[in-house]
Symmetry: C2
Subunit: 428 residues, 2 copies
């Protein structure tokens, strides 16, 4: 087992270990946010026939070649083609056909004129066209959008709303996507109670499990919470066994060096290989990463273990740095990290040189510049410094002082930071 | 009814009309992504008592005042306090107590020393402390995190994962949040079929409904799809009546000026007041916004109507510009717009001066600069130009040329654009 890795080493080790999960086939309407596990080719032609892009009249360009305001062409409206209708009758010289958006263009017609650009005679039996028309005007050609066999979507593409619509238009009601990671959430400790229990003595709520489950959901994984294991080897073992069918186990059981931490022993007994313990990070040093080479199914590996610190701030910060990128990779995403932005520091910060610090900050934008302000008491016991934070400011290990106004890097942990309070453009 | 508004006028009109929905009470674990409709104050003290921040030993500072490497203080380990345990017995002079993270500090003790910093005698009956200790070391004071009555969360706050954890720690298993908008999705047309139907003649898939439903889900609204109404007033009316219990009706029924568009007539008959028709936008001009002053419940208003163009690209673009900000406001968000970024244009663009164009673009980042490239054929019939797009480039109405390299504004419609392909900082 390695010890005391840098954040970079720890992330690299984890991302080399985890792998994209196998595919599953789901209904396309449920695939939103998932990553495609197949290339999708068109088995259709869209539009299926030359069709009108407007409500208007299909006509023959030759009939209007000399048309002008003074001498409009008069065309007999021979028939009508509705959207979804058939276009079997051919248009003859001097004729037009009433046509609607999406309707197939009848044989013989080579352009469509918008209804706003003609004068219809009373009764609608004829129209007057006072301008020449160009061949192809307002006609969408068969296959213009999609030809048969066109590569439409590729393995690895994210299913965004427009992709869901495209799949529907291809008649693909089911699609192969990368499976979502199933994450077993485990907490342990005799002091822990669920949120609906009374608080007395030294009891505290097992709130980490609720934070971590919500973090899993936010990244598109499927958490299942196994409840609180008590500090007895038998109870811990029963809980861990129930977690072995997961893709990942995330525990904030406190894998430190205390006498009462039976957790590591139980994991080892059940076949976990510990890859590293300890990261040069504050908050979040006592973190464990491991893997079960053998899962409950013969021949297939078991889950990865993320043993996060028991402290709520540390658990949340280490989830962000180590579990989230792993879950994104397992889900098939190629861009697995949170975004970072350059910002300026509002008030000075200092620390001992050594471990990298991630300082919880709120953010504001002034004249296009992002300003970062510490969310206050950075004691890892103060969870509101985390729940108030939009970003984690990177205070590199070797540095000890950051002056007010210093240019810093901030990792954005609140996607709503990017949402626009304003339109962002003039809108005319 | 107003006509031909600018994009800015149309957005302003819509955002002035729509309002934040009333609250509902939901289980906190289901509140992720919702907006709080109440201020949350602490009814608890966290931590509930002075407690240890480390695994180690609680002691009396006075006992170690003279301690040094050469002359360590020897303290008798009198008892043990586990996390979740009680701390009823007082520590006397010359005594220490074995203590674990989160355990209450016993009366008489005024500091905790980490177990790594002491030497335990064989049998664990005494420890040697070879350094002075400061009062308060490694003790988290009662109420340090939260005092009774502290304002913890405010109405309007977004429920992020850490907020879910904070609610759990407060014992708040249910919480009041702004209701999600229910959006009735309606399509109409004799040419439309569902995705599982065979395609023949001029039939096309009702793919807009699937795109629009997915867009609703992405923004946190609850879509329900009413299926395809046929182009007969009775069928349309039955469908629209079923939509009147919604907060919004989104239709891509094609509310143009064609003879076959019974849609507007049916909405008017059922009490819809049309606010504006037509926006100076390409793609997306023929868009209708209206409201039902009276809903099916006496005394309360009915839904807002967004009549989007039937063309799939136009429907998606107008949803982004007009429906999405409205749904965000209704959901309680204060920042309702998509983010915009400055970018440089890869290849030149031209258009006639007049309407604002939103050009579908893919994006790449080179040396910190964002480059925008048209996704190809910008005919509004070509849906892949939309499903491939990460952004919409703003080509202002008055302009007719944008040269390669020009600085442009791009609205980001794919949140994954912000995800980091790299760590974004050194990680040490």
């Amino acid at each position: 087992m390695q010890r005391n890795l840098t954040v970079a080493q720890a992330q690299d080790t984890i991302l080399q270990a985890v792998f994209r999960l196998p595919p599953e086939t789901v209904e396309s309407a449920s695939a939103l946010g998932r990553v495609l596990a197949e290339d999708v080719r068109s088995t259709r032609i869209l539009p299926p026939a030359d069709c009108s892009a407007m409500d208007g009249y299909a006509l023959r360009v030759a009939d209007c070649a000399q048309a002008s305001e003074g001498a409009p062409a008069r065309l007999q409206v021979a028939f009508e083609v509705a959207a979804g209708g058939e276009a079997e009758v051919a248009l003859e010289a001097g004729q037009a056909a009433r046509i609607f958006t999406g309707a197939p263009v009848p044989p013989g017609a080579d352009a469509v004129i918008m209804q706003e650009h003609v004068e219809a005679e009373a009764g609608g039996e004829a129209i007057l066209v006072a301008r020449p028309v160009e061949a192809g005007d307002h006609i969408r050609l068969a296959g213009e959008d999609l030809a048969h066999g066109d590569a439409v979507l590729a393995e690895g593409d994210l299913v965004r709303p427009t992709v869901a619509g495209l799949l529907a238009s291809l008649g693909r009601t089911v699609v192969s996507v990368v499976r979502r990671p199933r994450v077993a959430i485990l907490s342990s400790g005799d002091e822990l109670v669920e949120p609906d229990a009374p608080i007395d003595g030294g009891r505290i709520v097992s709130s980490n499990s609720y934070t971590l489950a919500a973090m899993c959901r936010e990244v598109g994984a499927e958490p299942y919470y196994l409840g609180i294991a008590r500090d007895r080897p038998e109870d811990l073992e029963a809980h861990v066994r129930a977690a072995l069918v997961a893709d990942c186990i995330v525990t904030s059981a406190g894998v430190s060096v205390g006498d009462h931490d039976h957790v590591k022993d139980v994991f080892a007994k059940l076949g976990c290989e510990f890859v590293f313990w300890g990261v040069q990070l504050k908050p979040g040093h006592p973190m464990l990463f491991g893997r079960f080479p053998n899962g409950p199914a013969p021949g297939s590996p078991g889950p990865f273990l993320f043993g996060l610190p028991g402290n709520p701030v540390s658990a949340a910060v280490t989830f962000e740095q180590f579990v989230r990128p792993a879950l994104r990779k397992m889900s098939g995403h190629s861009r697995v990290f949170r975004p970072t932005v350059s910002a300026r520091l509002r008030t000075p910060l200092s620390k001992r040189p050594g471990r990298l610090n991630l300082v919880r900050v709120s953010l504001s934008v002034e004249d296009g510049e992002v300003w970062a302000t510490s969310t206050g008491n950075q004691s890892s016991g103060v969870f509101r410094s985390m729940s108030d934070a939009q970003g984690l400011l990177v205070f590199p290990g070797p540095q000890s002082e950051l002056e007010a106004g210093a240019e810093v890097t901030v990792q954005i942990i609140d996607d709503s930071f990017f949402a626009g309070g304003e339109r962002g453009f003039e809108g005319v």
